[in-house]
Amino acid sequence: MPQRLDYLKETASQTAGPFVHIGLAPGAAGFDIYERELGWDIAGPNAGGERIRVEGVVVDGTGSPVKDVLLEAWQANAQGVYAHPEHDGEVEEGFRGWGRVITDFDTGEWGFDTVKPGPVMGRNGRMMAPHINLWIVARGVNVGLNTRVYFSDEAEANAADPVMGLIEWEVRRQTLVAERAERDGKIVYRFDVRLQGEGETVFFDI
């Protein structure tokens, strides 16, 4: 017998279940317990760049909206800097780059306000197009799903993006592109997530 490798195994994932709100968004579950709920303000008041809203629904394989989803966003600021000690550069005071939202219990709509991220340096010196990383959990989702939101007004950068380029089927790349529109003077990007079936969103093993 060779020596044993002494690595531990990662704790296995389990579904967040239908009542994820109790732990991560108790106000939505119907009670007030914490002084501050986490994740409602992604960019903070001082962040530079364009103020945007990203919104959508998550639909299942039958095309029905899923109404017990929790999504978390992780993004760089407008200069392409993540609020993390290992990423070179500074972020604005109060810029966190992280947020969480839930889908509406009746409509399944979700949305968050933030700033549009800048391009981020990727591997091998290749620039990544502006994007927001999303992590999606829900009842019936056994391991959280990772995807990315890209922006429709960044067609050139998207075409050169090394992660987009990994997606062999060009037709599927469009599932990651949020459509830009203006509503009441605000910039709104629409990003619907399809868990299964026609137009299934690209999910990543990161």
């Binding site: 704790t11 389990q14 732990g23 992280w98 091998n124 019936g140 989702v141 868990l195 990543f204």
Partner: protein, 242 residues
């Protein structure tokens, strides 16, 4: 300064598959296409950082964080404690751990939970804390009850506590559930059984920890959480920007 390095790839055969037919809700909510595997960039290696300004010191005590003054929730008083480690067996310090659970009767404080068992006026059912420098965390709560759920007609969830952990990078993000040693419902639960490897299920079961109990007061269960580990960067010639 050490170059940021990737995290070990997730062992997808150890985790539950997206589609697990006996857990019916997964059938229409599981992607059919294969996941696209990414070599990690800054987007995956970084992740949110939390500090003591984000939470309050009493947030980890579910016996008091929603109870009226001088009152306590009904149920078996327990300590849930352990360490957050990575696959290299190193502690993961200062990471946010959030939990939620049903009360002792198996009822959640949630406007969508319609189970017969009553809500407990002194129990909210959620808590949060930061692991310390050694990765150690602890909560005080009541042992949750089993409850029925609609899958087959007669499915009962084993007593469990939901746990959400961040780690240091977005790629370590994890939600899981911990179960209690000796619960006969564990083997019969379609959600537990989405996990193919019995060894992975065993690691979700917290043993009774008599050494950590407070005599005449509170009984303890120990639950270590393991997040993805990280490569070292020895002997690698890495271009800028990795």
């Amino acid at each position: 300064m050490r170059k940021p390095a990737e995290y070990y790839q997730r062992d997808r055969a150890w985790h539950p598959p997206a589609l697990a037919r006996e857990y019916k809700t997964s059938v229409a909510r599981s992607p059919s296409y294969a996941l696209i595997s990414l070599e990690q960039s800054a987007s995956e290696i970084t992740g949110p950082v939390f500090g003591h300004n984000d939470i309050d010191p009493g947030d980890n005590d579910l016996l008091t964080n929603y109870a009226q003054a001088g009152e306590s929730p009904i149920g078996e008083r327990i300590i849930l404690h352990g360490r957050v480690l990575d696959e290299n067996a190193r502690p993961v310090p200062n990471t946010l751990v959030e939990i939620w659970q049903a009360n002792a009767g198996g009822r959640y404080r949630h406007k969508k939970d319609m189970y017969l068992a009553p809500v407990d006026p002194n129990f909210g059912g959620c808590g949060r804390t930061l692991s310390d420098e050694d990765g150690y965390y602890f909560f005080r709560t009541v042992k949750p009850g089993a409850y029925p759920w609609r899958n087959w007609v007669n499915n009962w969830r084993p007593a469990h506590i939901h746990i959400s952990v961040f780690g240091s990078s977005f790629s370590q993000r994890l939600i899981t559930q911990m179960y209690f040693e000796g619960d006969p419902l564990i083997a019969k639960c379609p959600i537990v059984q989405t996990i193919p490897d019995p060894a992975a299920i065993e690691r979700l079961i917290a043993p009774l920890d008599l050494n950590a109990t407070i005599p005449l007061d509170t009984i303890a269960y120990k639950f270590d959480i393991v997040l993805r580990g990280r490569r070292s960067t020895l002997f690698e010639n890495r271009p800028e920007g990795n």
